[in-house]
Symmetry: C2
Subunit: 202 residues, 2 copies
């Protein structure tokens, strides 16, 4: 073993020891409030990636889509056709609000979605609930942020994970959450005239 390799091995050994020590203190298991926000891509797809993990681990889960109802997304089709037993899917939105142009209908759809969301979160059979694009409904004040945060903090079962996605997450929600990721856009092909494409965007 030459010097460089020996130094590398020793450095990696120290990192592993430090990491093992750190991870020993990570003993708590609890259901998390997870927020994926920001203007970048991947907020919903990361949520659906966690749904994929749940299905793999046989953890019953549910998805409530708040806004995307008007467009058939790949992930909704996928869950409906292939995983109807493993993951409950509720499509409650009627499309982005600039498509519907009807605020009262948007509010009613969001409220309906929230009632479904609460029932799924409270259901003891369900271990993970994805509230896809709920931040849009909160941002537009279709739902009351205080009610949502209060419910998550006081009524969510201890071991249930809830993931809330959408840009412009409200500060109250970020404050209440355990795990918050902001997806930041560094570069986007729309700028160069490339349209939304299946597999990538929907």
């Amino acid at each position: 073993m030459d010097d460089t390799t020996a130094r590398h091995t020793e450095k990696m050994r120290r990192i592993k020891a430090a990491r093992d020590e750190m991870m020993k203190t990570k003993t708590e298991e609890k259901g998390l409030i997870i927020v994926n926000t920001g203007k970048g891509k991947g907020k919903s797809s990361a949520g659906f990636g966690m749904i994929m993990r749940c299905i793999a681990h046989q953890m019953p889960c549910a998805v409530v889509q708040f806004i995307k109802g008007a467009r058939a997304t790949g992930e909704a089709t996928f869950l409906r056709e292939r995983f109807v037993d493993e993951c409950r899917l509720f499509v409650t939105g009627e499309g982005f609000t600039w498509e519907t142009q009807d605020r009262d209908r948007d509010i009613a759809a969001a409220q309906n979605g929230w009632e479904i969301a609460k029932a799924q979160i409270l259901d003891p059979d369900i271990q993970f609930v994805l509230l896809d694009e709920i931040n849009i409904a909160l941002r537009n004040d279709y739902l009351d942020i205080d009610e949502v945060v209060d419910f998550l903090l006081t009524q969510k079962p201890h071991m249930t994970h809830v993931c809330l996605t959408g840009r412009n997450a409200k500060p109250e929600l970020i404050e209440a959450a355990d795990l918050v990721t902001e997806m930041t856009l560094l570069k986007h092909p729309f700028r160069d005239g490339v349209k939304a494409q299946k597999g990538v965007e929907f």
Copy 2:
């Protein structure tokens, strides 16, 4: 219709018109070089969310995992058990390097992964390739960044999407990419002593 509702309807109509106009210019379809980087969560899970979309749209796809081989991840199990026909899965890494403590073996594993990756990208049957955690291999100089970028820019078939994940994406890769998202950590439960949990982290 009262005044507020009328104003809302008019505003939404204007936004929809502007958006429709903007989207008309987005006519190009092309395979994208997509990068998910940053210290936050969701880089891999957003990649796997896109795989889910591809499977839903019957787009044949492939995943090459560069680093996570040592741990059975939910998404690998999921793909292997359920989607062996729709998505090819190659687990080439032997775990994070602080686990292996053997630089030569890490380099050999990464090089092997890259050979597989090139073959999948060049395969005309495959429309989307996820190179999971390849940024770690690039960052550690297990792979040559110039070779990887040159291959993506000159040999990737025009319509094939390639998604590269992992923190610390090299500037050369970001420069070459069409779509770059940085996942930023705003809050993480490890800080509070909560351990990695299935469904969420793996």
